[in-house]
């Protein structure tokens, strides 16, 4: 960002410089005595008043002059429109100036058909010569830089193509996972159930329990696959950007969570008016994961509190979800956001270990970052920032 800005600054300085020089150059003739002297023969005289010859010169010079003005105008317009996206802006402006100068030499050709102000015409020619020479000198050193730029543009197109290809592969992979990986699990669960129903009388308690364990494992694998697909979905989905009221979103999620455990006495504190710009669907998934994690890990806490708030940290809006639940050992904090990483055993707190990986992916897609502070049995706080560039 700062690089762009300074490039913009220096190009406007250059523009000012070029304008200043042009103004001085145009003012000089007023100071030179005899510059408007017309004690020469006009060109029309040399052309012996031949109407055909005069109009041929007149029309061609007028056309050349007009076209040059239009070309120069177009260049200036282009530079104005593309502002920061266009490299070497000053070069284009210098081109414009050079073309206008060329145009005026042709304009002078028209004037001198009848008014022999040859000194003015010579002066315009000198200016054009200087502008041409400067442009000619400035252009060659740019060639390697422009080539570099073209190369890097080609490279970034290549990278984009590669990215698109790998996205398509991921898409195909997820599609296949979604269809093919779940079917065998349904067979494991279904046929275990079939044995339990059809041969219940022939099975001892241990065998029945073993079959139930096979069923539970199949179901768990099903849940893992579903969560994994959700994780990849958050990476693949198109992003929109709109104003999202995190406070209201959190209130709704809190209401839903409370409905899943009416016997629990958990206090939600949600700061009002936390509005951000981002993708509503993805932010919903992120907030759901963070709040339901807090809900899950305060399940065994007597006076459970869950808080959503915002504070300024180093000049950045930092949002946080804080609970006073089971927490975790900060020693393992680096593993927190890895897929399938769990801080607790499945018996005390069930889960697939994909939720925080999903949250991190969503926050990153919003140009932000997420981190956590916690201590065992003293709760956890998840901080996140969005749009941090």
């Amino acid at each position: 960002m700062s690089g762009n800005a300074s490039r913009g600054d220096s190009s406007s300085k250059r523009l000012l410089l070029i304008g200043g020089i042009a103004a001085t150059v145009l003012a000089v003739p007023l100071a030179v005595p005899g510059i408007f002297s017309s004690q020469f023969l006009p060109h029309a005289f040399c052309y012996t008043g031949d109407a055909g010859l005069i109009s041929a010169h007149l029309i061609s010079d007028a056309l050349i002059w007009l076209s040059y003005v239009v070309i120069a105008g177009t260049l200036v317009y282009l530079v104005r429109q593309l502002k920061n996206e266009m490299p070497f802006q000053w070069m284009f402006l210098a081109f414009g100036l050079f073309i206008i100068a060329c145009g005026f030499t042709h304009f002078m050709e028209i004037v001198t058909l009848w008014k022999p102000v040859y000194w003015v015409s010579a002066y315009v020619k000198i200016i054009t010569a200087v502008a041409s020479a400067l442009t000619a000198v400035a252009l060659p050193p740019l060639v390697p830089r422009i080539r570099e730029l073209a190369k890097s543009a080609a490279r970034s197109r290549e990278i984009q193509d590669e990215l698109a290809a790998s996205n398509r592969e991921l898409e195909a992979f997820s599609y296949s996972v979604s269809h093919d990986l779940r079917a065998p699990l349904r067979a494991i669960d279904g046929f275990s159930q079939a044995v339990l129903e059809d041969s219940a009388g022939k099975l001892d308690e241990q065998s029945k329990a073993d079959l139930q364990r096979a069923r539970a494992a199949a179901k768990r694998m099903g849940a893992l696959i579903d969560d994994l697909l959700k994780l990849s979905q958050t990476a693949r989905s198109d992003m929109s950007r709109e104003r999202v009221d995190l406070s209201r979103m959190a209130q709704e999620i809190a209401t839903q969570l409370k409905a899943t455990g009416p016997e629990r006495n958990t206090c939600f504190t949600i700061a009002p008016g936390l509005v951000v710009v981002g993708d509503r669907g993805l932010l919903q998934v992120a907030l759901e994961n963070l709040l339901s994690n807090a809900w899950k890990f305060t399940g065994k806490t007597v006076h459970a509190t869950i808080e959503l708030g915002m504070e300024q940290q180093n000049g950045h809006k930092t949002f946080f979800v804080r609970d006073n639940g089971a927490g975790f050992d900060m020693q393992y904090a680096s593993k927190l956001f890895g897929a399938f990483q769990r801080m607790h055993d499945s018996n005390s707190f069930p889960g697939t270990g994909v939720g925080l990986a999903t949250v991190q992916r969503i926050i990153r897609r919003h140009g932000g970052r997420i981190w956590a502070k916690a201590a065992i049995d003293q709760g956890a706080t998840f901080y996140f920032e969005l749009n941090r560039q």
């Binding site: 599609y175 979604s178 269809h179 093919d180 779940r182 079939a194 179901k219 694998m221």
Partner: protein, 145 residues
């Protein structure tokens, strides 16, 4: 369940495990209609849209259609069903493993009547099949075709 539609059910399913489990779930839910199983899209279309020289078959009460099938896939089968005058009004219920947006959109775009995702949990699957039977063979009225 006398009021239930007694016509055949066409089950289009390539995975024999899934086919058996679906048959089992239907039986357990007392849905006693005859079930024809087509193992891929080609078989399904041969059954539904026999050529002039082939024997005509009675239209099923509904088609339970899997999407990922060998040879001709489910969406293609659905398109052929909707494109042919004989079958364009036939109730087609997509019964498949995925709930990818792409599949849902394609399914509805080409005119499925319902889209059910097969759960991994067989008890849930039983419930799903029970609902399908009660709704499509009991509650729902289909045009005579």
């Amino acid at each position: 369940m006398n009021h239930m539609n007694q016509k055949t059910i066409l089950l289009v399913e390539d995975n024999p495990d899934d086919a058996d489990l679906t048959l089992r779930a239907l039986k357990r839910n007392n849905i006693l209609n005859e079930v024809r199983v087509a193992r891929d899209g080609v078989e399904a279309l041969e059954y539904l849209l026999p050529r002039a020289d082939q024997q005509k078959t009675a239209m099923p009460a509904m088609v339970l259609l899997d999407l990922k099938l060998p040879r001709i896939d489910g969406i293609e089968v659905l398109r052929s069903i909707r494109a042919d005058e004989r079958t364009q009004l036939l109730p087609v219920i997509i019964l498949t493993t995925s709930k990818e947006q792409e599949d849902l959109i394609n399914g509805y775009r080409h005119g499925c009547n319902s889209y059910i995702r097969k759960p991994v949990d067989f008890s849930e699957f039983m419930t799903a099949v029970q609902h399908i039977g009660l709704y499509w063979l009991g509650l729902n009225e289909s045009p005579q075709i």
